[in-house]
């Protein structure tokens, strides 16, 4: 008997009991569907993080204010702006590994162009910001030196803001928009960098301080909310970080043993760590889903054992008519395999549908990869072979004489 004949006999037998066959493979269906879905959601989350890491820019360090003591009370991180523009200058000039650096302050405001308005992040910074983040202009130019030093009334729009304020076909360059009643000329529009990044309008740091965010009590003329700095090469990240920490401790006159009033972070590394965490959680969920595959396998074994008992006489007839032990084994193994493969295929279809539904309803990014589908099908086949072997072996060991005597 060939493998093909084995599958033909198996399909025939399973078709005779469609409900039982379906219930038997349900465990496999659920297990495979869960694995495919978990993989799709997990790799979707990883894709989104990767995009975020890319959008920050490579080899970027971020310096934010740390905790400060004010009259013995420890205030929370960032409650006082401890960094200044001269810190930015010092980092740029005194640390050779730093290619570019920029300080920023940011707030939220309404931007208005003719009849349209949009609420967005206003980021006051210098042209170095775009260098640090490898962010190109889609149109127009960056801030000029005079605009940066003299609080020029200019703005560079992120692509989302440009899209919201200007009709397609309208050229934003040279147009006047208003932010908090201040008219500004659009001098540039940035390339797309990612949905979370593009919803922003950049103005020169001096402009932001003088005209929009200067009234805030914790901003003095020189301070910035955070600094971003670009390190020349990947291998220099740790060294550059240590040098920035030393430099700022000196400049802020922090005695040895006292806590820094700033924090240097590597956002890409932090996100990579987060990515690792997502991978771990996804693997854990896959492991849980695999348990259902195991249960599915056991249920197949159970039904196959019952089926062998029910069909003892058939086995006896087949043996008497010339079926070898291995033919009987192949026949029942094929049944288990067909159950698992069919269950696996239905599970893959269900998993793909489920992850597409999740993507649509929850707005998550999901990514269905062939690897996960292939892996779960391999799992199904393995389940069929492992749990189908014992019943098939049991069937093949039956004595034909005894089997023919059973009713």
């Amino acid at each position: 008997m060939t493998m093909l004949q084995g599958f033909q006999i198996a399909l025939h037998a399973l078709r005779l009991n469609p409900l039982r066959s379906f219930l038997t493979m349900l465990g496999i269906v659920i297990g495979v569907a869960s694995i495919v879905t978990v993989f799709a959601i997990g790799s979707g989350a990883q894709l989104r993080l990767q995009e975020q890491i890319r959008s920050i820019g490579a080899n970027v360090l971020m310096i934010t204010p740390g905790a400060v003591y004010q009259g013995g009370v420890r205030l929370k991180d960032g409650s006082k702006l401890t960094m200044t523009e001269s810190d930015v200058q010092a980092i740029l000039e005194q640390i050779p590994e730093i290619q570019a650096a920029a300080g920023s302050i940011a707030g939220t405001a309404q931007v208005i162009h003719e009849g349209k308005n949009w609420n967005t992040t206003i980021n006051g910074t210098t042209s170095g910001h775009f260098l640090v983040r490898d962010w190109q202009l889609a149109a127009g130019r960056s801030f000029s030196a005079t605009e940066e030093s003299g609080a020029g009334k200019v703005v560079i729009l992120g692509s989302t803001v440009a899209r919201e304020l200007f009709a397609s076909g309208d050229d934003p360059i040279g147009a006047q928009i208003r932010i908090m009643k201040v008219p500004l000329e659009v001098v540039g529009v940035l390339d797309r960098k990612g949905p979370a990044q593009d919803d922003v309008a950049f103005v020169p740091l001096t402009t932001a301080k003088l005209r929009f965010l200067g009234s805030a009590s914790n901003i003095n003329r020189d301070s910035v909310a955070y600094i971003i700095a670009k390190v020349a090469a990947d291998g220099q990240m740790a060294g550059a970080r240590a040098e920035i920490e030393n430099l700022l401790r000196q400049r802020h006159r922090i005695p040895a043993g006292q806590e820094d009033d700033f924090k240097v972070q590597d956002p890409a590394a932090a996100m990579e760590a987060q990515q690792g965490a997502i991978r771990t959680v996804a693997l854990l969920l896959v492991a849980i889903a695999s348990v259902s595959l195991l249960v599915g396998g056991i249920s197949i074994m159970n039904v196959m054992i019952v089926s062998v008992t029910e069909r003892t006489r058939e086995i006896g007839i087949r043996r008497a008519l010339g079926g070898r032990m291995r033919d009987i084994r192949l026949q029942f193994l094929c049944e288990a395999l067909v159950l698992c493969l069919l269950g696996g295929a239905i599970g893959v279809a269900g998993g793909v549908t489920l992850s597409m539904t999740v993507a649509r309803m929850a707005g998550w990014i999901t990514s269905i990869d062939g690897q996960a589908i292939g892996l779960s099908l391999v799992f199904s086949i393995a389940t069929g072979l492992i749990f189908g072997f014992y019943p098939a072996h049991k069937a093949s060991k039956l004595s034909p004489i005894e089997a023919l005597k059973t009713e």
Binding site: Q5, A320, L321, G322, G323, M325, R326, I401
Partner: protein, 240 residues
């Protein structure tokens, strides 16, 4: 008789061991069956007929002595080889027909060929010819439950014949049939035998035995007589 018998049993014994007690089902039985014979093996129930049939049919091996098929000791053959010989050389007919309930007549008839490595197309073609030979072609697509006992037994005979076996082994082939249908089945076996087919029938029914030229009597596992008549009795319906 030809020089080399088709089947030869030499001092065959078969002992079963149940709960430590040895029970001899067949004791020291010897006989030959030649090509083209029709033989009835008779005896009351428990006389060892079925055990003997299992050994001739290569389903069982003797505890002592030897069974030779075409001169070869079947005990020397591997389990797989014996299975292959069952598919090609032995045609079984059972009292309870033993058709697969979930397959139609033609699929049942074609079943032994599955184990001979024959293509589905050829299997079905040969099954049709075999059904034709027993007059059941018109029922090819019927399932066993849709057939009468006599019809099922005809299908079973078609199945036994499909691989052109050396020998057809029938175990109480009329035991579940009424006397008229039983007589028809017996006539079918007789007709087969006239075409040269070797037939061995196991029965406890003396009426059947009278249809066979040669009758072997068993009692308590021992051979009590082996008679060949030159003149068959006039045919009469089998009584059960």
């Amino acid at each position: 008789m030809t020089a080399s018998p088709l089947i030869s049993l030499q001092s065959v014994s078969r002992t079963y061991r149940t709960e430590g007690v040895a029970v001899a089902a067949v004791r020291n039985v010897s006989f030959d069956i030649a090509q083209g014979e029709i033989v009835a093996v008779m005896g009351p129930s428990g006389s060892g007929k079925s055990t003997l049939m299992n050994m001739i049919g290569l389903l069982d091996l003797p505890s002592e002595g030897a069974v030779y098929l075409q001169g070869a000791d079947v005990a020397d053959l591997s389990e797989d080889r014996r299975s292959a010989l069952r598919a090609r050389s032995i045609g079984f007919v059972f009292q309870s027909y033993n058709l697969l309930a979930r397959h139609d007549a033609i699929e049942n008839v074609a079943l032994p060929l599955v184990y001979c490595g024959i293509s589905r197309k050829e299997r079905l073609a040969r099954a049709e010819a075999s059904l034709q030979a027993v007059g059941m072609l018109h029922r090819a697509r019927h399932f066993p439950r849709q057939l009468s006992g006599g019809e099922q037994q005809r299908v079973a005979i078609a199945r036994a014949l499909i691989a052109s076996p050396l020998i057809v082994l029938a175990d109480e082939p009329t035991g579940a049939l009424d006397s008229r249908t039983g007589a028809e089945i017996l006539a079918l076996f007789a007709a087969l035998n006239r075409t040269g087919q070797t037939v061995v029938m196991i029965t406890h029914d003396p009426g059947i035995a009278t249809q066979c030229r040669r009758t072997i009597h068993l009692h308590d596992g021992e051979l009590v007589s082996d008679e060949t008549v030159t003149q068959l009795l006039p045919r009469r319906s089998a009584t059960s």
